[in-house]
Each structure stands twice: as structure tokens, then as C-alpha cells.
Symmetry: C2
Subunit: 440 residues, 2 copies
């Protein structure tokens, strides 16, 4: 009887030529010929050909291979043979034992022609079968690792702020409401209020990666009702510029880490070149951006306060042309389109000390210096027509010595989308959630 | 006019003796005497005494110091003077400029005699004023960093699974329900189903730290309605033992990292010695544990299937006595008290291939090998009286080649509680959420 050996990864097989090893993975392709049986087995590190000659001493193996189906989970124990004519690394596995750990039903519910929505219905198969999706999550892991490395080195504390809130503070409209024992609770649209509370709690620099929830009925390629947010909040800043410097350094560090680990794979799989950006990133005020865009025909009625996606793409293209840079900070957003807690410069209350960061024309971050003076905050909330009562817990944090601070919120999926040139946030997420999608 | 200089941390002041620097922090204590004004300013690295002689050339400074209140956020620019008779590091700051960045109202709503619930109402002040709370979040950061280091080194991919679910799959009772456009959604009680889906998606090893939600009306010192879960899921395991080995290695690595960075501070602040545990941790089956406990009078009616908290403490004490070890895996929980997706040994369907991990008698982890065979899973769900229909998306993941796998879910707050000897999970969380607490 052949015993199973401990698992060897496909990428390590070369070290085991002449030995009997066990490979665990999925049936990638089957070619069952009259005299020979060829099975390509795939694990997360690569593919190997299993080669079996029919009519040998072991009918059991022949029968087992004959019964295989595409995507079945198998463990093949066999001898590793050096065979230069085999395409997959010049190696093949001559099977001595075939175990079917989980047989896949046939036919598979999706194939390479299946459209996006149906692929999402069977996302586990979609991700398993496409090397680009596998690479995506490896890149996500490296990207986060890079951001954390930078944040930790800068003295950040990793916080986990609650997603359950007692009031729908930030704005009632886009918040999910849930039953909470005998009353209601709300899902946090962002860690905004709580990360500021952490600043008031004496945490010098706050870092959090976690889910955020938006009850927006948006069906664009860049919106989701639940997504992963990267949040930073920095105490004792002197100006909003301090936040932008932190962000560009963090992104440069993280992008370099991704480039070091995956640039070749990303080029091959996505056809995208990972460029480590130069710092500082270009900065342009909203007023300047609009002036340039209007001179080129954007918003001919002069009615838009914000940049629409078209405007974002156009200004990013312009900056790229002028500076060669893919990133740009748009600063000084009008007060009218920013939340009440953004600080305003003393000499110009019509704008805020805020920014968005665009990458290749897509907004990936919103940030600002926050208003930390209680009385000014009250005034700004009132001006926006907000009632102080549901904001009470938040506002209290500014009554007992809250330091000046500012921060940013970044959409992880959007960064991945641009990094890998994906067309939709649906592809940049493991299990996408939108107004029409709560499954699988 | 005195210009503000860039911020110097209190812990770095010694390097600046004789220079004029700016220190930013909170007013820790005020002693305003007839001839002298003493203000102790605290930042996240330490405390420094600001010493001002009244009646000097600068009345402005005297007035500014006179108007200070405890916990106000200030920036003091002044000369660093070496003065051996000063208690705080033998240094004092002679102020040249005093800026009140956010004046604290008086009196403060909490002081050192305030009870837990009211402290939680003002959690930002509670955390800010107590060095133990500051240390807690530093330890949390290091602990997570250590767990991630180990997980990454073992080839884990960091996943972010959705917290919004279309059905209340795992068990209807303890799930929060929310309005989701024109229908309902549910908050994930754990990433259980989705991390298994990631395994079916070909992710070899899954790691996630994120919020989990439990609609349990529990008021104990160790339950919360929202807490931070550490989740791991490993594909292609041979047995549940593989998961236990992963966990003990991960915890050993992370505890060592905490000990290296914080053991002295933890000893001083919490009076607790951080011990890096030896591996393997002791293992005992549930049947053995119950036999030992019953021989000592526990559960005299012989009615209990599970260990109650008293039983957990007693068995942990026994193991500690016998082996000196603070940790113990209880294995082979009865099928009746484990979920349908736990695998059962072929020769004994009355138990599961599962475990809990206790630390100093507190359950900090539940883990298991999962049943990956579709037909067995269907059978086990039916036996538990569960309807297959709401489980459909989950069950589909086992129809097309799901590999054998197992994993664990750990409560981060519980680990911190034991690590630092805290009496309640409320103290181990930044903003606690319980049936009666949704604020601040």
C-alpha cells in the first residue's frame, strides 16, 4: 500500500525529482487518451502534469483518473520525474495513489465566457479558476502590509472602532438602520467620529482597516454598499498638509512593496506597469482645477461646485501631461460640499482645509484637517442645518482638550482597481455588496 | 515675538537641553503658587514640568498659565533646562510662549473615583487620563502585528469578508437584522461561512481581523454585541491538529513580541508578568475534562454537555497545577453542542473534530476541522433541523471541489483581557457595545 506523504507544493517539485511525494490541488485539465491519461493538477503555486499509462499493474489508478472531473479537489501521490518534453516545468508526476477529496459536479456553473454578474454568483469558482483573481488578493495583502509598516513606523496605534452606532450622526440619508434589542442602531458610514474620539482619547496617531457601510442606491463601477476603508487620523498636526505628506509617503512605501513582490506578475496578468510614485504628489486647489477645466469646455453652465467623474478624469489627464504624475491632490473644496467638521481657513470660510486624492482620475481618498474647537464646530453644524442633539457624544469629545488633528479615509478596493487596471470595484472585492447584491 | 518650533516629544527633551522647543500635550496638573507657577504637561511619551516665575517681563505668559484648566490641550514653547531637583526626569521647560489649543471645561465629568459605566460614557477622557488604557492599545497593536507576522510568514492571505449577509444562515436567533433597500439583510456573526468560501475559492490560508456582531442579550464581563475577531482558515489540512499547531505557534510568536516590547510596562502598570508559553500547549478531550471535573464534584447531576465558566476555570487550574501551563486545548466537543459544519470522526459521530482554547480558564478561541463533503454537510444540517434553502450559497461552495480545511476564531478583546489581567471586556475595548450600550 502506498502511503500519502506530507504535501509538497507544485512550485517546490523540482527539489524532489526521483522522490515520491503528494501534491494537493484541483484538476485543471483532463486529457484521457486511448493509451495515456494526462491530468494537470493546479495548486496556488502552479501546475503539474500527472501522466499515467493505461493497462499497467494498477487498474485502480486508471479508474480513479477516469472518474475525475474538472475542478475536483484531489491529492495525488506519485514519483516526480524529470521530463524535458513536458511543458509545465519539464516535470511530471507518475501517480501511485489518487485520492478524490471532493469531486466537482459537472458541468461547472461558469466558464470563461460567463458574464460578470453570473461570475459573482459563483464567486468562489470565479476566483479559484482565474489566476488574476488569485493575484489580486496576494496584492491586497502586500498593499495592506506596506501601509501598516509605514503607519506603525510613524507611531500609529491600530484601533477597532465600533460599526454599531446609537444615532445616525453623520447624515441620516445614507445609513443602514437595524433593530437593536428594543431600539434601533445604525451602521457606521466610516470610522470618522470614532477615530476623532480616539484622538480626543490621547491616541497620537490612529490607523484602522475595516468595513464601512453606505446605504446609497449607486450602481456605478466604483460604488459598493460595503467596502474596506483604510483610515488614518493624526493628532497635533499644524496644517492639513501634514496629512497629505503622511498619505503620499504611506502610498509610496506600499506601492514600492507591491512592485517589489508582484510587478512582474502584475505586468503579465493585468498588462499594467506598477510605478512607484515620486513625492511630493502634485497639488492643485479646487478653484484652480475648475478654472482649467472650464477653459477647456467643462461645465459650460458654470453650475458645478464639485468635480464630477468626467472632471476628475480631465484634471488628472492634464496633470499627467504637465508633470508625468498619475496622482494629484485636489485641495480647498468649497464649504458647501464638505461636511460640517472640516476646518475652514480663518481668512476664507468659503473653502475647507480638505483634499481628495485622485489616482489616474479616480477619487481614492478624502481627507481634511478637522475643526477641533467646540464652539466653531457647533456653529458649523448649525449652519449645515444639523441638530446638535444626535451629535452630542461626538461634540462632547471637543469640550475637554481635543488637540488639533486631521486624517484621511481611503477606499482599499478603489486603490486596487486603479493599481491593477480593473474596470469595476466588483472585481476588486472578494464578495461584492451592492443595492441588488447581498449574495453569495 | 517667539515663534513656535516643530514639536518635540517629552521623551526626547533631554536631547534639547539649552534649546527652545515646543511641547504639545495636555495639562496634567497645575500648581499656581504665589511666586511660582508650575504646570505639568503630558504627551503620549511622558510628562514635563513647566516652571514660570511670576512678575517677570512677560505678563502674557503668567496670565495664560493662570487661565489653564486640567486636561486642556496646549502647546508650550520654551527653553529646556537641566534641573536635577525636578522630579520628572530632572528637566523643566521655561515657557516663552503658551498656546491654549483647546481649553477643557471644568469640572471634568469623571475623576479617579468614577465607576465603570460612567467612565465608559466619557471613554475618551477615561482612556486619555489613564496610562493603563494607553498601554492597552499599544499592546493591542503589537499583538496584532505579531499575529499578522506569523500568519504572513505561513502564507496567509488577508481577506475582508462581508459583514452584510442576505440570509441569517448560521442560526437565526443571535443575528442583527437591518433594512436593506426594499428587503432585509443580516450582520455576520462571524466570517465563518465566507472564510470557508475563500478556501473554496482557492485561497490557501485565510487571515482576517474584523468586527463580528452578536445579538445576544448577555451582560457578563466577557460578552459584547460587537467585538473584534481574529479568524484563520487553512486549506488542505490533514487533521484538526494542524489548526491547533498553527494557533499555538501564532500565539507564541505574538506573545513574545508583546513581551519584548511591553513586558516591563505591563508589569508596572497591570502587575502582570507576560509569559511566552511553551509549545505544544496541553490538550485534553472534553470527555476527559468532564471526568476529572466530576470526580471533584462539578456538575453533580451529570447533566452538563458543555463546560460552564466554572468548569473552564476548574479544568484550567488543574492543568496549570499538573503542567504549569496557562493554556489548554479542550478537544472533541460533543456533536450536540457544536454547529452542523464541524467535522465528526468516522468512528465516533457523537463528537466533533473541534476544540476550544482556554487561557487562564477563559475561552478565547473556538476552532474545528470543517466538514467539506457536500452530502455529509447536507445530512448534518438536516440532523440539526436546519433548512437547506437559506444555506444554499454556503452549501454550493462544497459542490465543486472544496478541499479539506479547518480554522479558528479568536476574540481579540478576550486575549487582551487575560494578557493584562482585566476584569471586564469593557476595559479591553475602545468603545464597548452591549445590549444596553450603543454610546458614545
Amino acid at each position: 500500500m502506498i502511503h500519502t506523504t506530507s504535501r509538497v507544493l507544485v512550485s517546490d517539485l523540482r527539489e524532489h525529482v526521483g522522490q515520491t511525494v503528494s501534491v494537493s490541488g484541483w484538476v485543471n485539465t483532463l486529457r484521457l487518451q486511448r493509451k495515456m491519461q494526462f491530468v494537470v493538477v493546479r495548486d496556488h503555486t502552479g501546475m503539474v502534469q500527472v501522466t499515467h499509462k493505461r493497462g499497467g499493474e494498477s487498474d485502480e489508478i486508471e479508474a480513479a483518473l477516469e472518474g475525475l472531473t474538472s475542478e475536483s479537489a484531489v491529492r495525488i501521490t506519485g514519483r516526480v520525474v524529470d521530463n524535458p518534453i513536458v511543458n509545465l516545468g519539464g516535470l511530471e508526476l507518475v501517480p501511485e495513489k489518487v485520492e478524490v477529496l471532493n469531486r466537482a459536479e459537472t458541468p461547472l456553473p461558469i466558464d470563461e465566457h460567463t458574464g460578470l454578474e453570473q461570475r459573482l454568483d459563483w464567486r468562489f469558482l470565479d476566483v479559484r479558476k482565474r489566476s488574476s483573481a488569485q493575484l489580486l488578493f496576494a496584492v491586497q495583502t502586500t498593499l495592506e502590509q506596506g501601509m501598516r509598516e509605514y503607519a506603525y513606523a510613524q507611531g500609529c496605534t491600530e484601533m477597532h472602532t465600533p460599526k454599531l452606532m446609537g444615532t445616525a450622526s453623520e447624515s441620516g440619508a445614507e445609513v443602514f438602520k437595524l433593530g437593536y434589542f428594543d431600539r434601533s442602531a445604525y451602521l457606521a458610514q466610516s470610522p470618522q467620529f470614532y477615530k476623532q474620539m480616539a484622538i480626543a482619547a490621547g491616541i497620537d496617531r490612529v490607523f484602522e482597516i475595516g468595513p464601512v457601510f453606505r446605504a446609497e442606491p449607486s450602481f456605478t463601477s466604483r460604488h459598493a454598499t460595503e467596502f474596506t476603508g483604510v483610515d488614518v487620523e493624526l493628532a497635533w498636526i499644524n496644517r492639513v498638509e501634514d496629512v497629505m505628506v503622511f498619505e503620499e509617503q504611506m502610498l509610496t512605501h506600499a506601492t514600492r512593496k507591491v512592485a517589489d513582490a508582484h510587478s512582474e506578475a502584475i505586468r503579465e496578468t493585468f498588462g499594467v506597469e506598477v510605478t512607484v510614485p515620486a513625492t511630493p504628489f502634485p497639488r492643485i486647489t479646487m478653484a484652480e482645477a475648475q478654472e482649467i477645466l472650464r477653459a477647456n469646455g467643462w461645465d459650460s453652465e458654470g453650475a458645478k461646485e464639485d468635480l464630477d467623474p468626467e472632471g476628475e478624469r480631465a484634471i488628472a489627464a492634464r496633470i499627467k501631461e504637465q508633470t508625468g504624475h498619475e496622482w494629484v491632490f485636489i485641495t480647498h473644496y468649497p464649504t458647501s460640499i464638505r461636511p460640517f467638521y472640516h476646518m475652514r481657513p480663518a481668512d476664507n470660510p468659503g473653502v475647507t482645509l480638505s483634499f481628495d486624492l485622485l489616482w489616474k482620475g479616480l477619487e481614492v481618498t478624502t481627507g481634511a484637517q478637522r475643526e477641533h474647537r467646540h464652539e466653531v464646530l457647533l456653529k458649523q453644524a448649525a449652519e449645515k442645518g444639523m441638530s446638535a442633539e444626535p451629535l452630542q457624544d461626538y461634540l462632547n469629545a471637543f469640550r475637554y482638550g481635543c488637540p488639533p488633528h486631521g486624517g484621511l479615509g481611503m477606499g482599499l478596493g478603489r486603490v486596487l482597481m486603479v493599481l491593477l487596471g480593473l474596470e469595476s470595484i466588483r472585481e476588486a472585492t472578494f464578495l461584492f455588496r451592492g443595492p441588488n447584491r447581498l449574495t453569495p
